[in-house]
């Protein structure tokens, strides 16, 4: 029978088309630019309350500025983050200082988290390979530096 002769190919083609048509992913990608952190500008930020949570969540992660990986010789876990950045030189660009208390415009850390490629001198934006900090989070860090970067 002709019908029997063509059936295997017809069934195979139907199954392939059916598979492609029927398959779908049943969820939306949940992109959270704030990475679970508060997305507000804090006018008078405190280091441990407002800045450290951002640093811990976005910087002190495996492969980056954790104790084990210490990229750019910088460890940003809670116990050592403050001492690691205040008046400390950058290990990547000679002459830059990570945080100059009271001077966010000239603090290398503030420059690195900005979108200003020229001021970053070709260095990749931080956090590396991950979404940028939100404008509110960046503003909070700048506010903290500009108010003298106290260890509070």
């Amino acid at each position: 029978m002709e019908c029997a002769a063509v059936r295997p190919n017809a069934i195979g083609a139907l199954l392939t088309v059916w598979s492609m048509a029927a398959g779908c992913v049943d969820y939306e990608g949940a992109v959270d630019p704030a990475h679970g952190l508060p997305d507000v500008v804090v006018a008078m930020p405190q280091f441990r309350r407002d800045v450290l949570p951002i640093v811990e969540r976005r910087c002190a992660i495996g492969g980056c500025h954790s104790v084990a990986s210490r990229q750019a010789q910088l460890v940003l876990v809670a116990d050592s983050a403050f001492e690691a950045i205040i008046d400390q030189p950058s290990r990547i660009v000679v002459g830059e200082v990570l945080v100059r208390p009271g001077d966010a415009a000239n603090s290398w850390l503030a420059i690195l988290i900005s979108d200003d490629v020229v001021r970053r001198k070709g260095v990749a934006r931080m956090p590396l390979g991950s979404g940028a900090l939100t404008p509110n989070q960046v503003a909070t860090i700048l506010n903290w530096i500009n108010r003298g970067a106290p260890d509070d």
Partner: protein
Amino acid sequence: MAQERVIERHVFDEPEGRLLAFYSATMAFTPGGLTAGNGWSVGIEMSYVPFLNEAQRRPSLDKPEATNLVPFFPRPRLGVRFAGLYVEGSWIPPMRVFDVEANLLSGSISGVGWAMAGWHISPRVWGATGRVRGTITCAASAMVGKGADLETYYATVCHGRESDDWFEPRMLGAEAIAVRVLADGALRAYVGAGARVDRSRFDIGVLTGEGVRDPDHPILELRATRPHFTLGAGWHPRGRIATGAELFYAPGSVLTARATVRWSARP
């Protein structure tokens, strides 16, 4: 002292949990279009793995990850009926298909069940485990030559090497399958509903310069119990060859189609 790997546990509602659940669901060991056969049988199942878009496949990072590695998931199946039970197993030996190497073991037992209003309802339990290896988190093809940021990421966080990532399905499932025999026994249509306990893992396999796994990266583990549903039919007119097709729906994860061809030792 060597650093121990951190196991990060994620529930289904977290982005990481969703991604893990998606991949494990594509490997669930359902009937695959054919319900219990006679005597010994061997078959091959082909399951479609839908592509994830960019937002779906990056739970927390912006860098590209090579997760859409396999569009179809083939699985051999070996079944036998004895003592009123139908036992089925599957092993995918470690060989490279597309860009991944899978070594997966699955098995199921279907019980006798009972008849009700023209349907035959059988309980079925199954499990699936093993490992799928691929280059996902640090893929040179997605990073090298793709801009300064990605180049830096590849050179530093990835140590300039491609990763050896492992996805490990770890599932136990149970379901009730209601079968209706039609066309003088040649056609068996079925619907199924069940749930699976899912502890699947993704081992972020960033390799150090020495080629060993960087212990600074965590192992992600899903902690979820999720429902699933099947709708399928098997066609076995005469002779030893049977074909079947199935729709498998795991809510919140995937809707996919499976097709199976089986050869039975006994017609």
